[in-house]
């Protein structure tokens, strides 16, 4: 049930994010979720896309440093306290969360949040045991 995240190294210089976006656009890639983490000197663009392998090839072809990471996408009830509820499950079970961000799209009344864990398999088991729906690759593509 893990999904694929694409991470792209971006030097902190003018137009570099635009260039990455342009490469993805030209390759017909649909971006489902994104976030940028930055330090003073560089950034890492993290995205969930419909065709991760195609996107990775396109970026490398154009000289970007990019890699693939397993992450977990889960449904969060789109109401006040929805996110807190899911984080409580993780916290109560001592599951270490590296970072997270939200999807642009929704499923019905639920928001989708992606999580990066040290141990995604263990986290998936825990989320499911607590009645939280975890989304697979097919579902992400279909959004």
């Amino acid at each position: 049930m893990k999904i694929t995240q694409l991470s792209v190294f971006l030097e902190n210089k003018k137009g570099r994010l635009y260039e990455a976006a342009q490469v993805l656009g030209d390759a017909g890639i649909d971006i489902k979720a994104l976030t940028i983490a930055e330090s003073e000197e560089f950034g890492v663009l993290r995205i969930v896309v419909d065709k991760p392998d195609t996107a990775l090839d396109a970026l490398k072809e154009k000289g970007f440093v990019a890699s693939i990471t397993d992450i977990v996408a889960a449904e969060v009830s789109d109401r006040p306290g929805g996110l807190a509820a899911i984080l409580k499950v993780l916290s109560d079970n001592q599951i270490n969360l590296e970072y997270m961000y939200a999807f642009v799209e929704k499923t019905a009344d639920n928001a989708i949040v992606v999580f990066r864990f040290d141990d995604p398999d263990q986290a998936i088991t825990m989320l499911k045991e607590n009645g939280i729906r975890v989304l697979g690759k097919k579902e992400i593509q279909g959004l």
Binding site: Q5, V44, V65, R116
Partner: protein, 433 residues
């Protein structure tokens, strides 16, 4: 094989005799032919008669690069222009370029010392050599060319650049020997990797690299990438070009052709000779040149000299690899920084490429900052910022422990630091001093 056993394996006292004779003749020549040197000698109250042996060289004046600039283009020639067979020009960053003139005897001397160097590196008559130094006003290309002809090699005068064609020639002609700058050898290895060229299998067996300082770590990298023995050759246009000194297979210093280029090592501040085997600025006096003889030319290269005999059988003294340059050296917050120090560190840190650039800036408040741009190897990329930051910090700690001053390391994308087909541009000094 030793190209000129008589000259290269001479006993110490015979060598001193030869050097003394030749120095006397050179001083006489410049006294008679060069108003510049006659003026300098007069100014110091030195006459030809004061120079009786090679030890008396300390009575003679030094020559510096600016002397050559100021006498642009031909005023230091000791022969009429019609007797000058070839001119080479080195670009300067400031002021006039430097022009060097070769008489026919000088061209013969150049061929001789390069032939010695090629043999020193392990080349044999009948070998094929790919000369990928630039041909033209730069002395690398033609120098290696003349010496190869003298030794009896088959020369492929590729010049530098057109890397894919270089590899094609390597594959089809199978030359055993390569001559170019060490940074170009690494660049070609990178292109070979990208194009799937089997570098270790089909590579040259011997590489003769010079024209820029390079480290032992870089040697290892080149030898491993190409499956070759990488040899350091040294020289400078003002003296003759490449061929002043070259390593033998022992790789324990560069044998200097001391019968024709007399080496001294001085303290650049006091201008006195330093004790044997101590590092200092290399000073060279060509002993047989006729077109543009120079006296005690200050090279600005920092070396030390080993006078003990070498296992290869040559008795010629050996200079160390260039430890630094008095003018490439940058001074940051009072600390002398040589690019080679940074390079050693990067080659030892897994995950970085030996492509780097140093940027020196004067910050607000007048404090200088040294930033080191390092290319990130693809396999070391992570989606986690903290991992990348730790990686930067690890590199800066390693550099700081070598230099003793704080530096800022910045990871940049692969292949964004300018590659050179000639000399690498390692330092960007933005301080307006």
């Amino acid at each position: 094989m030793i190209f000129n056993e008589k000259a290269e394996c001479m006993d110490v006292s015979s060598l001193a005799d030869v050097q003394s004779e030749r120095l006397k003749r050179t001083v006489k020549t410049v006294w008679e032919q060069s108003p510049f040197y006659r003026g300098k000698l007069n100014g110091m109250g030195v006459s030809c008669g004061d120079i009786r042996s090679i030890e008396d060289i300390v009575k003679l004046p030094f020559t510096v690069k600016d002397d050559l600039r100021e006498h642009y283009p031909f005023d230091l020639f000791a022969r009429p222009l019609r007797d000058i067979r070839e001119l080479h020009v080195t670009s300067g960053t400031t002021g006039n370029p430097i022009v060097v003139g070769y008489s026919q005897e000088d061209i013969d001397l150049w061929s001789e010392v390069i032939a010695r160097s090629l043999c020193c590196a392990g080349a044999l008559p009948g070998d094929m050599i790919q000369v990928a130094y630039g041909y033209g006003l730069f002395t690398g290309g033609l120098g290696l060319h003349y010496g190869s002809l003298k030794l009896g090699l088959t020369v492929i005068p590729c010049s530098s650049g057109q890397t894919k064609r270089q590899l094609r020639i390597l594959q089809d002609f199978k030359p055993r020997v390569l001559a170019c700058t060490p940074s170009y050898a690494l660049y070609m290895a990178e292109v070979a990797r990208e194009t799937g060229f089997p570098a270790q299998e089909l590579g040259w067996k011997i590489g003769i690299f010079g024209a820029e300082p390079w480290s032992e770590a870089m040697r290892k990298e080149i030898e491993q990438q190409w499956g070759m023995s990488a040899i350091d050759i040294y020289g400078l246009s003002e003296i003759i070009g490449p061929g002043v000194a070259c390593e033998c297979h022992c790789k324990k210093g560069l044998h200097i052709a001391a019968d024709v280029f007399y080496p001294e090592v001085i303290d650049p501040k006091t201008l006195k000779q330093v004790p044997a085997s101590c590092p200092g600025e290399l000073v060279l006096t060509p002993l047989t040149k006729t077109g543009m003889p120079l006296i005690r030319y200050r090279t600005r290269d920092i070396v030390n000299i080993d006078y003990t005999p070498c296992a290869c059988g040559r008795t010629s003294p050996r200079i160390s690899k260039i430890l630094g340059r008095t003018d490439d050296m940058i001074i940051v917050r009072g600390i002398n920084v040589f690019p080679s120090q940074i390079e050693e560190v990067l080659l030892a840190v897994e995950g970085t490429e030996p492509h780097y650039q140093l940027v020196v800036e004067r910050g607000k408040g007048g404090l200088d900052t040294l930033e080191v741009l390092v290319e990130l190897k693809e396999s070391f990329f992570s989606d986690e910022i903290k991992y990348l930051q730790n990686f930067e910090q690890r590199i800066s700690r390693e550099i700081e422990s070598v230099l003793g001053i704080g530096v800022k390391v910045r990871l940049v994308e692969p292949k964004t630091i300018e590659r050179s087909e000639g000399k690498a541009k390692r330092i960007i000094d933005k301080r307006s001093l």
